[in-house]
Amino acid sequence: MPPLLVINPHNGVPAYRQLMDQLKLQIATGVLPAGTELASTRALSAELTLNPMTISKAYNLLEREGVLERRRGQTLVVAERSSGDAESDRLAHLRDHLATAATMAAQLGITRPQALRIFRETLDATAAKSPPAP
């Protein structure tokens, strides 16, 4: 069962897209390790009050992208990925978020060195708040 999926039907992002993004993030962060079985289309549709076609659309696209795979008996599981792929997924997530920040920096007229300094400071502040990495 993928935990903690929250679909906001009113933010204009298609529900299948939200579902794909959240599952990918959970896979990239290791919440859903390789081999984890996904909830059936039926079960997830009931849980999230979503059209079952929306769920199967998200599942099918993730399967086509190689993020999920079908095992014997049609069970859908998180696909095994090379550590290189997993790494590039994680980087891609961060890159997406930074793209928004970069646009904002340009609009605010913040210079490149200023923006880089702020990112460094933000990293430091976050590290200070969270427990030390193992």
Partner: protein, 318 residues
Amino acid sequence: MNPSTAPTSTSPATPAPTVAFTADRITKIYGEHTALTSVTLNIPAGHVVGLLGRNGAGKSTLLQIAAGLTLPTSGTAHTLGRRTDLLDSPELTRLGFVMQEGKFIEWMTVAQHLAFTASFYPRWDHELQHRLTTQLEVPTTRKLADLSPGDRQKVGILLGVCHRPALLLLDEPMSALDPIVRRRLLDVLLERLRDDACTIVISSHLLNDVEKIVDWIIALDTGRVVENSSLDDLQESFAEWTVTAPEAAPLPAFTEPFILTQQRTDRLARLTVRTSEPDAAETFAVAHRVGVQTRRLSLDEMFPLLIAAKPAASALVP
């Protein structure tokens, strides 16, 4: 009673038509008033269609034609594969219609009315009826005449779904329901979808509610179809762009055909756009040397844009 000689009509093996409803250039005229003008559309089976439009756009008329309650003045409509002027028990028993204001036999209690209606349907699901009565909190011992508008709507829903229709038409089914019951109704509809692959057409002003379950949008405006697309496609093509001038220079004029509305000052513009080009915002930003932030629109926000027949061409003054 008929002995079960021919098990054909209610057999679940009856092949499901792939199109639940088709309209071919249907026009409906009531006296002086034209409710629908040459409407042509297909509703593929298994979809949940949101039928949107302002009051008087023709939503109820279209649903009534689909249910065979009235015939088009011209053009032809097919429901569950049968021309609507020839609908017969194989189709009618698989058709559910929840009317905006249900017409009931007022002296009956809810329980009596359910039993009465059930007697017409060989496939009436008593277990489902029992469950929905509890789920939607339907007062079964009270007379129809004494019910509140909300409770009447619930009875209408029960009468429309307990025979497990293949095509379920709902005309403003939620207007009198409170948010908790509305939410439960959506669960009920989704369950019909999962268990029976039922096709659902739902007209509603409560766009926030239907947005959760619809996957297809048909919008009517003054009797004409102005939109007929999947919700995913609509959500991925409509956006609001906030455009900023990066330097001291004022923003140039924007004349791209995909711009539907624009509000602007010298330094900032808010555009609504419709384009299925995924890189449109980046291309635009580079072409005009501006910053662009994009935001997706909810159905509520898209609605006025859908029914505005033409993009508001009036370039709003600086």
